[in-house]
Amino acid sequence: MTNEEIKQHIIAVQPNGVFDETGEWLQVYVEGGEWKPFAQWLRNDVLQMDFLFCLTCIDWSATATGKALFTMVYHFTSTVFRHTIVVKVKLDRNNPEIETVSDCWRTAEFHEREVFDLFGVKFLHHPDLRRLVLTDDFEGYPLRKDFEDPVNMIKL
């Protein structure tokens, strides 16, 4: 499917979706509340997005135009149709919470644990939301822009 066809399919189920077509792949911004049913639709309906190949988070610091926020970024591809899209969900930086998609794509289970560990995003209804890479006694979220560690970190 071309990006335009994918877009028409998405508009049918997500009339409020915001699109960004500047890149190679179609990007769509979805509201946090609509994310879970949209994810299930992506996985099981016409688009057949059966492969989540990247799940990450971005920390946007406050700018003149907007307040600081997190953006969850999901890259999907379909092994049936060979098309790819990017889905982004904006989160409240002070209370970052989003529904898990680990029941739709099993790989998300570990990726969400990693984001939970390094950014402190809470994934609701995740089956096993534990630390993945950091030590058990680690304090803070090292990939946040405001992370400070005066003991281990030598600043350049």
């Binding site: 890479v133 030590t135 090292p142 281990n152 970190m153």
Partner: protein, 187 residues
């Protein structure tokens, strides 16, 4: 009386001969040496490394183990997968905070005498990860004592061979780590 110990030099010894005197006599010979020197000589020529690599330096270490460079020529015969059978640990790669207790444990499990080579910038000082990181140990010598340091990112295979031979000479000298540190450079 003539001694001919120059003839039993091996490649790894460079200009260090067999530690003792060989006196040729009719029908045989007499060999005079000290027991410690013989033991150090034997030890230095049979140092088995531990299979331990945490990043790209490990690829370089594998290259040194394989046929083109082949450190078994110098007595680093075969890499052992267990610390109980290893004599030297080559820290080939970055040591992160989470790896540090594992490295310490491996070192503790090795039987004495044991030696440590810090290979590459990461193992020496944290290297490219010295600044602005929360997770990297700034030098493996914060965790275990190091005998030989090799600079490089990663070091050339020749540099690792040089470090291995340096370690052998260090063992042959018979000095402890503390003695070597306080030793004055020879003019």
């Amino acid at each position: 009386m003539e001694n001919n110990f120059k003839e039993i030099e091996t490649a790894s010894q460079g200009n260090l001969p067999f530690p003792g005197q060989v006196h040729d006599l009719p029908g045989g010979g007499i060999l005079i040496s000290s027991f410690n020197d013989i033991i150090n000589w034997a030890r230095s020529n049979s140092l088995w490394p531990l299979t331990f690599a945490t990043s790209c330096c490990g690829i370089e270490m594998m290259s040194v183990a394989s046929s083109k460079y082949d450190f078994s020529r110098f007595g680093f015969e075969v890499a052992r997968a267990t610390p109980r059978q290893a004599d030297v640990i080559i820290i080939a790669g970055t040591i992160v905070n989470k790896m540090a207790p594992v490295l310490k444990r491996l070192y503790d499990q090795m039987a004495d005498p044991k030696y440590v080579i810090a290979m590459g910038a990461c193992a020496i000082s944290g290297g490219p990860f010295f600044y602005n990181t929360y997770s990297v140990v700034k030098g493996a010598d914060h965790v275990i004592p190091v005998d030989v340091y090799i600079p490089g990112c990663p070091p050339r295979p020749e540099a690792l061979l040089h470090a291995l031979i340096t370690l052998q000479q260090k063992i042959k000298s018979g000095l402890t780590r503390e003695q070597i540190r306080t030793e004055k450079p020879q003019s």
